[in-house]
């Protein structure tokens, strides 16, 4: 090969073009990196102001995490997080009772039984359900569900955890059903056929083959849905009330019938109250936000982890 060939041709890329390409690449990278910045900013803002909250006279770390009384006045108060946490847990638990069986049953029906025509009606309907804003669910709970419960003889107060929980449960049904259905329909058909080949009925295949095979996907959908329920704000603000009450262990059902204030509602009430900028009440929002963020973040990671284990099984 000759030394004096036309090699200049291959390397003579106009520098302007290369710079332009780089600029575009870094611009797009900046867009993607912004999401990391968002996470960092969330953690930073929540953490700094949560620390400021714990530094105030009225609050302390131990008092916050062990206290069973939450009184937020504009000039200070007592800040023990357990009344809010128990309200959140109650709502999450009851909404899971509503959403998990219904959602899984819907997923089984859609994935295993529904005809194409039925699916083409049911799936978009569930999508519509998932698209309804939570403020509308809150309104439904407050104005229609609570009076309806009273009408059938359940002695609920105007604001109560029961109707909020049921509404939160209904709200997360589409999430459970669509994610579980995804998990079930990605179970390979060969497994089903193996089941049918052994003479199993559709019921036996669904419950004995498909659900066990998709179980980690189904679990991951539960975790995600429950994390939605924990972070849900408008339904609980509108229907559960804004008065914090410690969980009554002697009469658990009573907790459902009366009002309560979950963590998200605590944040809203802190910011919409008259509390001034630096007061403990105002800053309590950040401590609550941080607790909420950590819980949901861990749950999302757990859901990812469970789901990725499930993917490995069929690779």
């Amino acid at each position: 090969m000759s030394e004096r060939s036309i090699d200049v041709d291959l390397t003579r890329s106009s520098s302007g073009r290369v710079v332009k390409e780089r600029i575009y690449k870094w611009l797009l990278f900046a867009c993607a990196a912004l999401t990391v910045f968002v996470t960092a900013a969330i953690i930073y803002t929540l953490a700094t102001d949560a620390i400021a909250f714990f530094m105030t006279e009225d609050a302390s770390v131990t008092g916050f995490f062990t206290g069973t009384e939450w009184i937020a006045r504009s000039d200070g108060g007592t800040f023990g997080v357990w009344p809010l946490v128990t309200a959140t847990l109650t709502i999450t638990f009851v909404s899971a009772l509503v959403a998990v069986p219904t959602g899984v049953a819907a997923a089984v029906y859609l994935s295993e039984y529904a005809s194409d025509r039925m699916r083409s009606i049911l799936k978009p309907s569930l999508e519509i359900l998932a698209g309804i804003p939570t403020v509308v669910y809150g309104y439904l709970a407050l104005v229609y569900l609570t009076p309806a419960l009273q009408w059938i003889g359940i002695p609920v107060s105007t604001f109560n955890l029961l109707s909020a929980s049921v509404m939160v449960g209904i709200m997360i049904i589409p999430m459970v059903s669509s994610l579980s259905e995804d998990a079930m329909s990605s179970v390979p058909d060969s497994l089903r056929q193996a089941g049918y080949g052994m003479g199993a009925t559709k019921y036996e295949v669904s419950t004995g083959v498909v659900i066990p095979a998709a179980i980690s996907g189904i679990f991951s959908s539960f975790i995600l849905a429950l994390s939605r329920a924990i972070g849900e704000t408008m339904i609980v603000v509108m229907a559960a009330g804004l008065r914090p009450r410690m969980f009554n262990f002697t009469n658990p059902l009573d907790n459902l019938l009366s009002s309560g204030q979950p963590m998200t509602a605590g944040m809203v009430s802190a910011v919409t109250s008259d509390a001034t900028g630096g007061s403990a009440t105002y800053l309590s929002m950040f401590a609550l936000g941080l607790t909420l963020f950590v819980i949901t973040f861990v749950m999302n990671l757990a859901s990812d982890y469970v789901a990725s284990r499930y993917q490995e099984e069929y690779q």
């Binding site: 302007g16 332009k20 690449k25 993607a32 003479g199 559709k202």
Partner: protein, 537 residues
Amino acid sequence: MATDQQTGTWYGTGEAVSRVRGQAFKTLCLSATLLALLSVFVLLLYVANDAFQPLSADTGWLLVTIGTVVVPSLAAVGYYYTRDTRAGETATIALGLPIVSLLLTGGVFITFEHVVSVYQWLSILVSLAVAGGIVYAHSRVRTEADLERLVVVVAVPALALWFIPKLILSLPMLPTQSIALLGSFVVPVAVVVGLFVRRQRENDRDGVIAAVLTLVGAAAGFGVAPVVGITPFVWMLLVTVTAVPVSLYVESVIRRGAGVSGLAFPLIVVGGIVASAVLTDTLGFAGPTPWLDWGFLTNVPSRTPEDAGFYPPLVGSVMMLLIIIISAFPVGVGAALYLEEYAPQRGRWGRLVDLIEVNIGNLAGVPSVVYGVLGLALFIRAGGLGSGTALVGGFTVGLLILPIVIISSQEAISAVPDSMRQASYGMGATKWQTTRNVVLPEALPGIMTGNILAMGRAIGETAPLLIIGAPAVVRIAPNSFTNKFSAMPRQIYTWSGEIDAAFRHGVLAAGVVTLLVVLLLMNGAAILIRNKYQRRE
């Protein structure tokens, strides 16, 4: 197989195989699904009932309306469903498109009324045109100066946008608003329509005709509009944003020749409504007094339920969406492009990208109220923007939907077949050229679908608005992004605090129905785009 030992035949349902349990299970699953759906839909029916109060009308009115509107419409639906599904599709779009475009017209009207005045819009257009001219001229004169052109491309539009609008707005003589709209809005739309028709029909003449018809139709407003009782301004918007897309669709259906009978459906519905109105009027039947009426949409909130209106929150929601469209969407699509087209898969850099992807998935699960806190800290306290302004609301909710935009755009981009990219790289295209010329156009319908759905999510978000201090009641519609604003869900939340039954079951229901109708139309549009796109595949 010892069949002879069994009592019955070997086929059929012997007791060995129980069907009862399976049937019961199937029924259980189906009823759970239906329970979930019906519980909400029944409640929504109650809401609709409260919002429209149909029972407050005379029985005669109801009977006439059922006879003229409901029965013919249902008959048509039944016909389309059983006989002619293609026409059914046409019917859906023929009814849906005018409604969606009317909604869009309302959005454009509100934008011109409250966000950018026609003159501002005109001056922006002129600046961009001047800047474009300069950039083009530069590319002709100095073809090789790539880097220099980069500077020109960035600097000239910025300078133009800085100086020219001031110059234009300070002119002593400005054309009337309607003429300005004709020049700055109708003419560009007409050009776009012309180009679109030309491409569709591969015929220059048809394109010119379409453009001229658009222009003439809009300009006719100067003569016709006062007769009809609206301003020429509104007439022009109606022609360009509503009439033009509808007539393009009608024309395309007729030319296609399939499912033409579906076009009759909106006529049946509208004709039925008109007939009902005329009949009930002459027979003297009183109609219902709905809470959701024109007054509700155009009034400002009030303490008396009868006067309460939804106009300022409507404007606020439109403003918020505009901010999201110009801030969150480009960033989200950009991030998706990086992750799908540029990001390396392996090495240390690849692990960083993995981290970004996991992080995006997790951000999608962060509660909305936490985003409110972020917006409060980032934009109000650190950024110094005013509490409760449309700008802060848009940015905050924009951050909230950013993960959704990114994930759905990523799906759309990764659906572009790899052979397209290969072909482009094989032609010596650079990464950006491939992305811009091949990937982006191909992924656009999918990206649009995802973005519209994300907009649906954004329009219903309430909790972040509470945290960033969107006021409970806004009595004057905001006129700038830095005004305090309220959005539809924020106003609904305020009203939910009223104890008066007229608010609870009336005004509130009307607000909820408005919000849901807007959402439903947006989702419907997104699904239509998706279906059209999927069919092409």
